[in-house]
Symmetry: C2
Subunit: 216 residues, 2 copies
């Protein structure tokens, strides 16, 4: 049975998945790049984002690589797709990633504002879903076939899927930074009551990797 | 200059310093003992609590031992001292630790209800302070002389001292457990704005040790 998975979602020591004051110039919010210092040097990141055949291997890279294994579709919150808020003024915004985004499969973007699908180079197609998280999941499952679906974020999107008990497996990364404010990933969510338990705990030099899984 | 320090304060992955539903039978709250699995086996814990000359050494024990180095006084929130709430019905409650508590120095207990000092074996004297966190700190400093003061907790007490910028150094331990609810240690506290930064990040097999320090 295909799974709904979260991978490599980094939070700060104070629990935030992005810094405060997100903007076009600062898409991860103030201090938000500090969340990803474990990830940027990895071979997986360097290959996936820049097509370079270099980067570090080891624990951090192993976890990063898992996030691209057997993924047949992605789901993103709208703010992960871009900084535009409210109705789309036109179709000029085509994502943060240039002409050839790192997905290479269908990507379902949650939004309140309809927009035609957007076909990019390299197999990525952005679909804009206006009828909620369950509808997005149904469409992503159809697109992914036997493969799994990955939720890219942000925190608000993950929280919705967690509260609906729809996530099967979730890898988070606790980075040694303090953000002081922003979007909290887990505050107010009772994960044990929702049926989640810690199934992996692997510290690396740069961060702590934790996997939660839903009890079957 | 003597410092105000926090040591070995463990929080869950979802940020709680104790589990929900604390009681006499369950002083750490539901699931709360999971927070301290890194600590119980250490030589420092075994020596300090049970007087045994055994236990593990290594990273976890090194951090545990620091918490007893050059400490001349402690400050505790009332719930750390015991389960009694409201006015003291009598003087029969003498702490969770038996006749010879592991402090061996003066301990200042924050409470709204006056009570005479309580002298225990081994040098521990509990003083009950009714005029707030700054008064407790002033008295603890006087008692500690050239040595430092350690805040034992709980979360609410640490939060008050953090918000007042009175803590100089704070070691927390992120344990691989989910509690789902309880007292959050850091939620809503903007540590960078208060002048704190991460000065150490040391993962062990059992937990992640982090030290915050106040910029001078």
């Amino acid at each position: 049975m295909p799974k709904l998975r979260v991978h490599a979602f980094a939070i700060s020591l104070d629990g935030y998945g992005a810094g405060p004051d997100q903007s076009l110039a600062d898409p991860l919010g103030k201090g938000g790049t500090g969340l990803h210092q474990w990830f940027f040097p990895t071979r997986t990141f360097q290959r996936t984002l820049f097509g370079k055949d270099e980067g570090t291997t080891g624990l951090d890279d192993d976890f990063a690589a898992r996030g691209f294994d057997k993924i047949g579709a992605w789901i993103l919150g709208r703010n992960m797709f871009g900084p535009v808020r409210g109705p789309w003024p036109d179709e000029s915004w085509r994502g943060w990633w240039g002409d050839n985004p790192p997905y290479h499969v269908p990507v379902f973007v949650l939004t309140h504002h309809a927009r035609p699908p957007l076909e990019m180079e390299g197999g990525t197609i952005f679909h804009f879903v206006t009828d909620g998280v369950e509808a997005a999941l149904a469409r992503a499952k159809e697109a992914a076939g036997a493969r799994d679906i990955r939720i890219g974020g942000g925190a608000a999107t993950i929280r919705q899927y967690l509260n609906a008990r729809l996530i099967d497996e979730m890898h988070i990364v606790i980075s040694p930074v303090l953000l002081g404010g922003g979007e909290s990933l887990l505050a107010g969510i009772d994960l044990p009551a929702l049926g989640y338990e810690v199934t992996e705990h692997v510290p690396s030099e740069k961060a702590t990797h934790v996997v939660f899984s839903k009890r079957s």
